[in-house]
């Protein structure tokens, strides 16, 4: 494996010693199988501490250890705590690596959970973009529910004309849009135009029409194609008003945008403070990421970052960051659980809340919270 994504100030040698010590104690706590796996990791990788976290996370979650799957395991931010749970000594490993690209610093493990720390942060507004099939909906749905699970008000906003987010959220209802009655015609300089009906604010529209989802998520679809194009247009212009008046204080918004570089992505994502490009380790995904970054830059200065998805090799996450030219905020391993959830049409979070991809999204939620906090 190459340089750990987050860059660890711990020298390979020191880390190695730490790992050996941990492995010895882990042997007492978790049995020889795990300790053996840790030893193997330490031999293979020059950043064994972060890999150790991954190994332990997988073990703790009851998964068979898969050495090749988790890639740059620094993605599993927050597993440091699991490690602490196991070893009972929170300060043993000096650093945890947050996969935040070059801007990120490895930092001492803190006693407080990243997710708990997040609760102090104001609401975040994130929009998931990327190539079709990169995993936007899967990640966005999981992200929204994990965020809601921290006790926040979360609006999961689906403006992808293709279905997806309802499934990844585990919301049974796939049509959760605004009714036509929310829209009224008016005369604008001699032309017929459309707006939200009199007295209906964007916030009220959300509160009134959003579907209640698992973990307290509020789910709303805007911009869905419900019929031929000319039937959608009027409502769509009106629905866009909602985006300018989303619930503010104390609310987080997690948006799932259309795949690719469709022109409206900035229109429908204009509430976002952060565009999260979901990119696989493939050239088509990188090219899409570069195009999205270019378009976003022309529009102003929303923060554009990348999350590597379906990573298989240890250097995949770093490669995705390099080839898209975007700062990396997380990496999600290739995970058969996601494919299975897709096949069953259910939320990956409901199928297996401890699977590697969900663990990684948990880290992503924490990482974005951190970025925001320090911004």
């Amino acid at each position: 494996m190459g340089r750990p994504v987050g860059g660890s100030p711990v020298s390979g040698e020191l880390a190695f010693v730490e790992v050996l010590e941990l492995a010895q104690r882990l042997e007492q706590v978790a049995g020889p199988f795990l300790a053996d796996a840790v030893h193997r990791e330490a031999e293979v990788h020059n950043d064994p501490v972060t890999h150790l976290h991954a190994v332990i996370a997988e073990h703790r979650d009851g998964h068979v250890l898969r050495r090749s799957v988790h890639g740059d395991a620094g993605v599993l931010v927050g597993t440091a705590e699991k490690l602490d749970d196991l070893t009972g000594q929170p300060e043993t490993h000096a650093h945890t690596s947050l996969t935040m690209g070059d801007a990120a610093q490895s930092r001492p493990v803190r006693s407080r959970s990243p997710l708990r720390r997040l609760a102090r942060v104001a609401g975040m507004r994130v929009a998931f973009v990327g190539k079709g099939g990169a995993g936007k909906s899967s990640l966005a749905g999981t992200f929204a529910r994990i965020l809601a699970g921290t006790g926040r008000n979360v609006l999961a906003l689906d403006s992808d004309p293709m279905p997806g987010m309802a499934f990844s959220l585990g919301v049974a209802q796939t049509d959760s849009g605004l009714p036509d009655s929310a829209v009224e015609e008016y005369d604008h300089e001699g032309r017929t135009a459309y707006r939200l009906r009199e007295g209906l604010t964007g916030t009220e529209a959300v509160l009134q029409y959003a579907t209640a989802g698992p973990d307290g998520v509020h789910f709303l679809q805007l911009g869905k194609a419900r019929g031929m194009r000319w039937r959608n247009t009027r409502a769509h212009f009106a629905f866009q008003r909602v985006l300018d008046d989303l619930p503010g204080e104390g609310w987080s918004v997690v948006g799932d945008l259309p795949g690719g570089t469709r022109q409206p992505f900035l229109t429908w994502g204009r509430y976002a403070e952060t565009f999260l490009v979901v990119a696989e380790p493939t050239p088509a995904s990188w090219l899409t990421g570069r195009r999205l970054a270019k378009l976003a830059a022309m529009q102003g200065t929303p923060r554009v970052v990348v999350v590597a998805n379906k990573v298989r090799e240890s250097h995949d996450a770093e490669l995705v960051s390099q080839r898209t030219g975007l700062p990396l905020v997380g990496a999600v391993p290739m995970d058969p659980t996601v494919r299975e959830a897709d096949r069953l049409g259910c939320a990956v979070l409901d199928l297996d809340p401890g699977c590697p991809s969900v663990t990684a999204v948990r880290s992503l939620v924490a990482a974005l919270g951190e970025v925001k906090e320090t911004r």
Binding site: G132, G133, G260, P264, T267, W268, P283
Partner: protein, 105 residues
């Protein structure tokens, strides 16, 4: 014959289109591969590479750029702005989104 490949994101449209195009070309048909996706990646699947795909000028941009005649025929456009892909496939990118200004919703 004229075939349009459609479907949900990630279901394999581009890959399918590329394999179809190269298969037809190999069996002796003159084949035009049209990338109508606003995020055009067909070049990658046809095998011309990531960089060449990124550098492809869309027909629309070429026409908008100025000195080409707007009334050029479709054949002429494909000749002028098409790109040679493996197995003799002619690749043309119809349009790519180049600016972030809102268009249709």
């Amino acid at each position: 014959m004229k075939i349009a490949v459609v479907g949900k994101g990630g279901s394999g449209k581009t890959t399918t289109a590329a394999v179809l195009a190269r298969t037809f070309a190999r069996s002796g048909h003159s084949t035009l591969a049209l990338d109508c996706d606003s995020n055009p990646n067909l070049g990658i699947s046809l095998g011309i590479g990531e960089q060449a795909t990124e550098d492809l000028l869309s027909v629309r941009d070429a026409v908008d750029a100025g000195d080409q005649e707007h009334a050029a025929s479709a054949d002429d456009l494909v000749d002028r702005f098409g790109f040679e892909a493996p197995d003799g496939v002619r690749l043309a990118v119809v349009t790519a989104i180049q600016n972030p200004q809102p268009g249709c919703p």
